[in-house]
Structures are given as C-alpha cells and as structure tokens.
Amino acid sequence: MDSRITPSESDDPRWIAQLKDHDDNSEQELFAVVAEYETPDAVMAACEKVRDAGFRDWDAITPFPVHGIDEAMGTKQSILPWIVLGAGLTGATVGLTLQWWTNAVGYPFLISGKPMFSLPANIPVTFEVTVLFSAFTAFFAMLGLNLLPAFYHPLFRHPRMARYSSDRFAIVIEAKDKLFDREKVEALLKGSGSIANEVLFAPAKRAALPKVFHGIGIVATLATLIPLAFIAKARFTHSEKPRIHIIQDMDMQPKFKTQAPNALLAGLWGDQRASLLPVEGTIARGEYVADERLHYGQEDDGTFVTSFPVTVDEALINRGQERYGIYCSVCHGMSGDGNGTVNQRATALARFGGKGMAWAPPARLSDERILLQPVGELYNTVTNGKNNMKGYAAQIPVEDRWAIVAYVRALQKAATVPVDSLTDEQRAELQSN
C-alpha cells in the first residue's frame, strides 16, 4: 500500500475538502498545517527549523520515540519528575505516619520485645507506599499533562494519521499559534525537507460534553465519600453488634468447633456431637497412659507423688537445666528468683504507666511454700499451670517436664544453702563471678 502523496496532490482542493469534518452543518475553520517526512533524521532537521522560527503550538508525530527530538523541538523539561518527587515524599510520610499511629498510638501491641515504633521494622512498608504513590502519580500525572484520555482530536480525521503511527513522520503547526500565518508556515514546511504538506480543517465549535455527564461525575465523586463516612462513623460510635466480617473465610471457617452440635451427623449416629466419641475399646495415638504416676504426677488416690517416677541422674538434671533455660527462665529468671526478662520488661512498662496493665510477678521458686511442695505438685504446675501461669503440657513432653522439676529442685537447693556451710574455695569461686 504505497500511497505516497506528492505536494501537487495535496494542493488538490478535493484533498482539502476531504480533510474537513464530516459534519457539514458545522462551520469549519483552519486547524493546522501538517507536513510529512520520510525519515527520523529529516523530521529532526525540520523540527530544528520550526523551533528556531519560534513557534509554540506545534508538535512532531513519530511512530516511535526518536532520541534527541526533545532537544530538536526545544521542548522544556517536563515538571513530571517534580510531581513524582512530591508524591514520593508524601507516600513516605503517609506510610510512616500510618505505622506510627497504628503501632504506637492507636493500638499499641508489644511484638517480640521490639519497641512500639522502631524504624527498621517500618522501612519496608514506608518504601512500598512511597513506590505506590510515585508510580500512580507518574502514570496519572503523565496522562493529565498530555491531556489524556482524549476522545476526539482534529488530527484523528487526518487520513495519513495511520501512516504516522507506522512508518512516516509529521510536523503539525496549529493555527492557534501566535506566529501562525498560513502562507509563511506552508513555505517554511515546504522548505524543510517534507515530502508533502496538507492543511487541516476542523469544526469551529467542538461538541461539548453532554450535560448528563456532569451530573454523573458529581454523583460519582460524592459516592466515593460514602465509605469514608462509614469508617468515620464506626470510629466514633459504639455498637453492640458483632463486627462486619470482611474476609469471611478467615472468621467463619467451614468446620465444626469442638463443643458445637452437628445436625448433619445426628441422623447417622443418633448423637449431635461434632466431635465423635472414640470407638469403644480404642485409644488415640499418643494418648495411651501406661504409667499414671509418671503422667499425672499423682497417686491413685489423687494425692501428689512425693518421689520422682523417673531416675534422677546428672543427665536428667542437665536436660532439665537446658529446658528450664528455654521455657521457664524468661519469667522465673535463670536462678529461679522470679526476675526473668519478661518480668523486668513488664515492671518497666508498668512503671511508665502501661495503660490498664496488671502484672502478677512470677513466683520465686525457692519460696518456702514451694520448697515444701511434693515433686508431683511441681510437675502439675508445669503441666497444667497455676493461677496466672499457663500450663506447658502442649509444649514440653512428659520426660522433659520431670527433668525440669528435677532441675527446679536443684535450684531450690542452691538457693537455700546457708553461707556458713560453704568452704572458702566455694565462696571464692562464687564471688569471682
């Protein structure tokens, strides 16, 4: 499809008529003079001429980005980078403020001992929000600066436009330019290495946006405020109703809770329990209790055992020491004095006015009351917990629990030895630490 237009062809009045808008009723006016070029080099050279002639309302159309054409056209640097910089800084501020407010002010929550507001933890989100704001702003501001999206532009009527987006180049000088003078412009472009010049007409009056769209726009803008209004209302009012479950899957899982009834099974087993009873005469894996003293630390009559149901040797105590270090020392302290790191932190927080905080300090393990407890009772505390302390049955296997009890006994011994009974060497050693 070679439809090369020669300049003589473009002088043809039919050609110009064709460039008029189809709407014959409307009054036509001169829109622009268009010149066509074959190569990027040619259009670049022509751009330099137009630029030097001082025109402002003009543009070059190329099917692909031509390196260096900005300079040739004398285009000023876009303000887009500054807009994006502003958006990026806003994003960083928003990201950081959001985290600071939610973590340290709105809903303070202690996570693995880190400060409520600590910069390292907040960098990733800040970074992401910065990028998000910058990227969106870059995209939309670019569209805005280019007056896009545009549903109509007089150039779209130009039959050669298809070529300008595939293999030809063009310069368009619009009639609204202050320096525009049809003859002069045509002469300038003819002498600029173009292979064709055309004059483009467009309706004098552009069709306006139908009124109804204004209405739709206003309503849509107002509608976006509705969710915000709801959020604001929710923040400042109280409600007895259960909260709205936005992510249903998490909150309402299709499963039966342990103590809930199950109507489905009722017909089959005649029993409405969600958890079925074990089949008569069977026992679940891992639930077999061979030795009740070992397992529960109790005699048949329910009193606590007073002797260890396991052999106590050095290996057991060492194991106990290690497990104690892992599970108990955070609260009870390495020496069992009840002042582990959790306690230190909690007392510190309480001192600085932790809001509504009540702290029951962990027990001192060498208290006389605890000294007198039988081993079975200590074992029971570790297994099932006591008052404010929770049980560790789920985390610590039976043998390890006994090992810990053995070690607690050792700690108690160590804490209750009278100073007088120590040899000089032992004292020296203790003082050296």
């Binding site: 080099d41 031509v66 390196h67 260096g68 300079e71 693995s112 390292p120 933890a121 960098i123």
Partner: protein, 413 residues
Amino acid sequence: MASHGIELTESDLRMPESLRGLGGKLMPIGAVIAIIGVALAFVGADSGFKHFQFAYLTAYAFTMTIVLGGLIWLLIQHVFRASWAVAIRRVGESVVGLVPLMLVLFLPILVPILMHDDSMYKWLNHSYAENDAEFLPNKQVVYGAYLNPTFFFGRLAFYFAILIFLSRFFTKNSVAQDETGDLATTRKMEKFSAPAIPIFALTLTFLGLDLLMSLDPHWFSTIWGVYLFAGGMMSFCSLLALLCMTYQKHGALKNVVRKDHYHDLGKLMFAFVIFWSYIAFSQYILIWYAHIPEEITFFDKRQNNGWEWVSVTLIFGHFAIPLLGLLSKHVKRHKPTLAFWAVWLLVMHLLDMFWVVMPNFTSGHVPLPFATIALAVGMLAIVVGASIRSASTKSIVARRDPRLGESMAYHNV
C-alpha cells in the same frame, strides 16, 4: 539509527602520549603509597602484622570488587546488546582485563595463610575448629567439609581460573574484532555472556563467602554475594566515569564520549546506590528481626564500641546523601559534579569494606584507618595505571563494533 555520521580518525583511536605517561607513572606512585600503608600498619596502638593483614584484605576487597563489578558490567552490556556503552566499553575492558593482576595482588593474603597463619581465618586452626565444634555441634559439618584448608585453597584456585577465563574471553574477543570487524565475534560474545552471568554470580558469591564472610565463621548471610556485587558495580561505574573524564582531559575520546554517556553512567551509579542500600537493609532487617545469637553478632559488633558511628556514616554517606545528590539529571550530565559523586562513592565503598572486614580485627574499637586508606589508594592507583598501560597498546575505542555509530550518536533525553 540517527547517526550524525561521525567519522573516527586514527588519532581518535590512539591513546595520547601524555595519558600513556600518566599510566606509567601511576603504577610506581601507587606502589610507594601502598608501601607507606604497609609501614603505617606497624605503627600506633594496633600495630603489627595482623593489622597489615586485615588492612590489606580491606584494600584488596575494595579493589577486587571494583574489577569484578567491571566484569559483570561488561557481561550485562553484552547480554542486553546494549549500544550506549560501546563507545566507552574499551575503557571498561582495560580494567576488567586486570583479573590476573588481581591474582598477583592476592599473594600477600595467600602466602601467610598457606604458611598456616590463622590470625585472619581462625578456623584454619585445628583446635579452634574442634573447640568450636563442641560448642556449636551443627558447625561441625561446616568445619569438616567446607572450611578446611585443602578445600579452601582448591576453591580459590577454581574461582581465579573462572574469573581469569571470563575476563580474557571478553577482552580478547573485543580486541580481535578491531582487526577483523567480524560480526560473528559480537554474536559470540553476546551468546556466551548469558551463561557467563550465573557462572560469575556464583563465583563472586563463593569468593565473597570464603574471603570475607568466613572471617567470622559463626555468621552467615545468604545475601552476601549480592551485597558485594551491588557495591562493586556502583564503584566500577564511578571509576569508569572518572577514567573517561581522565581520557578526555588528555584529549582522547573527545568525539566519541558525550554527556549522554556520563548521564547513563550516573544513572547506573544512582541505581546501584539504591540497590546497595536495598540489599544492605534487607540483610539488616531480617537479622535484626529474628535476633538469633549466631547472626546478630555481626551487627552487634558493628553497633558498639565506636563502630556505630561507622555504620551511621554508611547509612548517610552510602545512601541518603548520594541518593539526593545524584537524583537530578543535571548533576549526571555535568562532568565536575559527577566526578565529585564518583569520588564520593569510591570513598564510601572503601568505608563499606572497612566496615565489613575490620570489626573482625578489633571489635572493641575502631582502628586508625590510615594504613587501610594508603593501601587501598595505592592498590587502586596500581590498577588504574595498569589499565591505562594495557589500553595504550590497542585502539581505545572498540572501533569496528557494529553498534559504535549508534553509541556515538546516542541521545539520552
């Protein structure tokens, strides 16, 4: 595309005498500065052979990462069939071709450890490894299978073999094309650059792991190789910009290298400032958050006893300040300001390596940096001198590369 038809004359291809002279002078000057550095290691509070060893390793890590940054830069140009860099590629290649020289410069590190000096690499000492293995049972495997002297030296030989091969392959072929003008050479380099990149990446990672990470055998970080790559690439681009400016100051490359090339180098410097920070921060936050004793020691050392000031200097000097400084296009297109930031980043890269290596020497305080600085400056001067010397024996532009015209006419805005 839009080649404005620049014709290269013979004088554009040859290195001016004054520049060649500078190259010749730089090597002895560098050697003298390095010797001063050696002497400085033996004065002051921390004086001694051990100080020399650590300072030398810092300087070496600084220079080596720059040369290897150059190698990966070159591979990336080829794999992307990049045209912009063709005009400055030969200048870069003259640095990349120096991997054999880096092997020679490695000897002062290698010889003592070959003679069973374990003051830098503690694990070379048998009893250390054994005691430690008892203390940390899961490290036993590491000491036995990986960190043992025989395997260590074997690996080093292997890394250098790979690196020398890669650097030779790409520099030799490029020079060969000057004579033949063969398009197949370009295609061969492009094709081979793709598998070369993962090979290089693994080599750099393991080299960094063996030379730097094993200084603290308890510590490990899986992002280590990337960290070194980021710093190296940033510093190489800085060095390349400075080299091109030096060439031009002596009248070379004046029709060939334009603002647009500096602009692109500046963009790479800027990008790798950010990339380094991104990697450094990723490494930091994971270790900080998990707070595992084995890992946290690395940052613990660097946050106490004065090292915290070095760390803070890095955050600002290696990230925040150059980030803002290099942001503007005008800075990147203006030679003097770009030169300023290039020097700045090189200094920061040296500080980074100091921060990586030196806490293993004295974690209790920050040692005086003068020995390290003199050694690093000396070594860099030797490398730059050698690169100019090696460039002087051939055309200073890859003159028959098919994309040269495009590169010279390249516009950036």
